[in-house]
């Protein structure tokens, strides 16, 4: 009896694994049902329409690897664009899969090593640059010019991800960061939006004196120091970058020490939530949205969340403080790209596929895609957009749009110009000073040590 059971189970397992093996070859897309029916319908239409395009009769499949698991809910603009694109180009099918950011990046690193990358891959810039250097990504400089995609971008968003002057990535979103503030909390405490650091400190001190939490921040999310990165650029980060990389300039220099001293000053004045070390970025956001903190450092990606919150029409934005003892331009802010879309080297070797991919990007960054992003999903597009925005309905969105186009110079994010190791150490250093664990000199030294490993 047992023998029979064993035989049955073994057969069942073999069957199951064969089936499982088969179905892993099939690639299901994230929103299967919807797209399948639409594809079937539009396919019938195309036969009547007769659009002329290269390789129209051949079906091409593009695979995309995204950094969220639930694309409809967490990257709705991508889901919409993918859908509309397939309607417009019925012979091009898109198979899009995603995972939560950290999991996604791990998978992509594994995939790269094993020649298993999807055709289009979302990556953080440091990783993209490492992969490009290792030969896994496609140099799209010429292709971008050929398809005219660079023409669509806002200044500061072209050349989003370059290695040795060649382009490897396209901006997936705007990284536009600074301090959001709660207008009613400011009013209650009789403070105004600060420009210089001295003004900023006096705002913090007044708020703290009245018992309000000046800035909500979550130390568990070591990446949530965007506005501080802007501040670092106002101490000449980018001017020093080449020197830092070659070793001519050490991280332990006067300007950077002054930068960390400013952070220390803020920490000692009680600018940060008491429990910063035990909360993460999401919890800090909830604290801000619950009206329990005056300011919150974040960026354009939070527009939707802010507009859905209870304090939507009280949220304002400013670029952060300028420094009288700073280095270089003070009126500059991070208006750059965050993650980037890259193309795998393997995909680029098939000309039909490459053409399909470039068409997709053309669609994404062209007028149709831009409209979808700005109007249907209320995201800030990386491309020029001059549609009408209803300031009443979308107060945060319209304010950010204005700021995006103001006359502050745009700089990149320091983190994207460093290796993953040094970048994360920089985050640690900033939080170290915020948490009162590092002195300004120690903070500089820690990053210097990490950078020394790379030289």
């Amino acid at each position: 009896m047992k023998k029979k059971v064993m035989v049955f189970l073994l057969t069942a397992t073999m069957l199951a694994s064969v089936l499982a093996g088969c179905s892993s070859g099939e690639k299901d897309s994230g929103d299967t049902n919807k797209t399948d029916t639409e594809q079937r319908d539009t396919q019938k239409d195309t036969e009547d329409k007769e659009e002329v395009s290269k390789g129209e009769q051949e079906e091409v499949v593009i695979t995309i690897g995204e950094h969220v698991a639930n694309i409809e809910q967490q990257s709705p603009h991508v889901a919409l664009i993918v859908e509309k694109f397939q309607e417009t180009y019925p012979n091009i099918k898109i198979d899009i899969n995603g995972a939560e950011v950290e999991e996604h990046l791990t998978k992509m690193k594994l995939a790269a090593q094993n020649d298993n990358l999807p055709d289009i891959i979302w990556l953080e810039q440091p990783i993209a640059k490492e992969m490009a250097a290792a030969g896994y990504l496609y140099d799209m400089t010429d292709a971008l010019n050929e398809y005219g995609i660079n023409n669509y971008f806002l200044p500061g968003l072209v050349n989003s991800c370059t290695v040795d002057g060649k382009d490897y990535g396209l901006p997936s979103e705007i990284m536009m960061v600074g301090f959001f503030y709660n207008k009613s909390v400011f009013e209650e405490n009789n403070v105004e939006v600060p420009t210089t650091f001295e003004e900023f400190m006096s705002v913090i001190e007044t708020l703290k004196g009245n018992g309000a939490t000046p800035i909500a921040i979550g130390a568990k999310s070591n990446f949530s120091v965007w506005a501080f990165q802007s501040m670092l650029t106002r101490y000449g980060f980018f001017e020093k970058l080449d020197g830092l990389e070659s070793g001519e300039i050490s991280w332990v220099n006067d300007d950077f020490i002054k930068f960390f001293e400013k952070v220390e000053q803020m920490a000692q004045a009680g600018a940060f939530s008491e429990n910063a070390a035990t909360i993460d970025y999401f919890e800090a956001k909830e604290i801000f949205l619950g009206g329990n903190a005056a300011m919150f450092n974040s960026g354009a990606w939070d527009i939707a969340a802010f507009e859905e919150s209870d304090i939507a029409d009280q949220i304002g934005f400013f670029w952060g403080p300028t420094f009288t003892d700073g280095a270089g331009t003070q009126e500059q802010a991070i208006k750059t790209s965050g993650g980037v879309y890259t193309i795998s080297q393997k995909a680029s070797e098939d000309p039909v596929k490459l053409d399909a991919i470039m068409k997709f990007f053309e669609f994404y960054y062209g007028e149709t895609g831009t409209k979808i992003i700005a109007e249907d999903t209320k995201g800030l597009p990386t491309t020029s957009y001059d549609g009408a925005v209803d300031a009443q309905k979308n107060p945060v969105f319209s304010e950010m749009l204005i700021r995006l186009n103001d006359d502050w110079a745009s700089v990149k994010e320091p983190f994207s110009s460093l290796t993953t190791n040094v970048g994360n150490t920089l985050f640690d250093a900033i939080f170290g000073v915020i948490n009162g664990i590092y002195s300004p000199e120690e903070a500089c030294q820690v990053v210097e040590d990490a950078m020394a490993l790379e030289r």
Binding site: T106, A134, T278
Partner: protein
């Protein structure tokens, strides 16, 4: 027992497990050990760097912190878990009304995924808005409302407590399974001879549970060395890596900092440490067994 110990029987019985184990566990460890001698970042080509990763480890301040924290967690939780789970198993071994309900309740923490355990206890231990401190403050014990997590030193203790909560039922169940194999005849004989409760426990139950105790000790030690999700959820290893344990620091090195080679060196070190601790215990207990046991 010789009649069935044929070569064929041994081959058939041993091969499946050894094969799968060899391919999916041993071989990967060997590969990981190889990478521990390189400077591989996770992407691109690796270069052999000999023992550099290992020497760097012991000069790495953050690594030493994680080592110290792991030792603290082990120290705090080891006796707590061993003694407490034995005690609970002893109680559950008796039949009483509500026995299965108690078993289910005590075992339930082990069923939850570690990441959820971390989330829930995060909301309990948070010094500002967590359940524990809010209750302490509301009954006037403000000075006991310490920084359980997120502070500079208490986190390992908190981790030990949460870990104990999580695995108590697990270890109690193992003790219970062991206790169930002791037949009631022995206890009857003992009570006829006039043994009281303490004598029964220490002179009969515990010696007969030798194997079970070894099992639990090995499981606790290896379990503590592998703690990761709890630390990640409670403090993220912070502030500034002050509350890292060995595996959470390894995770940071491999996945966040992209220093795969170095991370593998840490992992290999943890592996060796864990093995040395548990195997020494097994060998010592076995020697004691041989000396004094009447099987």
């Amino acid at each position: 027992m010789n009649w069935f110990s044929t070569k064929k029987a041994k081959a058939v019985f041993l091969t499946p497990a050894l094969l799968i184990y060899g391919i999916f566990l041993i071989f990967p460890i060997v590969v990981a050990a190889y990478y521990s001698f390189t400077d591989f970042s996770g992407i691109g080509k690796e270069n052999l760097v000999g023992l550099e990763n290992y020497t760097r480890m012991f000069g790495d301040r953050l690594f030493l912190i994680s080592l110290k924290n792991t030792a603290l967690v082990l120290l705090c939780s080891f006796f707590m878990i061993l003694i407490f789970s034995f005690f609970v198993a002893y109680l559950l071994n008796k039949s009483f009304v509500g026995n299965s309900v108690s078993k289910a309740m005590i075992f339930s923490p082990y069923v939850i995924a570690p990441i959820i355990v971390g989330i829930i206890w995060g909301f309990i231990l948070n010094p500002q808005f967590g359940l524990l401190n809010t209750i302490l403050r509301s009954i006037g014990f403000d000075n006991l409302a310490w920084e359980w997590i997120g502070g500079k030193s208490l986190t390992p203790v908190a981790i030990a407590i949460v870990f104990t909560w999580q695995v108590l039922g697990f270890h109690a169940t193992i003790f219970l399974a062991g206790m169930k194999t002791i037949s009631s005849d022995i206890y009857e004989a003992a009570s006829i001879d006039g043994a009281n409760r303490r004598q029964t426990i220490f002179l009969i139950t515990i010696p007969l549970l030798k194997e079970t105790i070894i099992m639990n000790v090995v499981l606790i030690i290896t379990g503590v060395f592998k703690i990761y999700e709890l630390v990640y959820q409670l403090t993220g290893g912070g502030p500034n890596h002050l509350s890292e344990v060995l595996i959470s620091y390894m995770y940071y090195t491999v996945f966040t900092s992209s220093r795969y080679g170095y991370g593998m060196a840490i992992a290999v070190f943890v592996l060796i440490l864990s093995i040395v601790f548990s195997f020494s215990y097994i060998q010592i207990s076995n020697k004691r067994n041989k000396r004094g046991a009447v099987s």
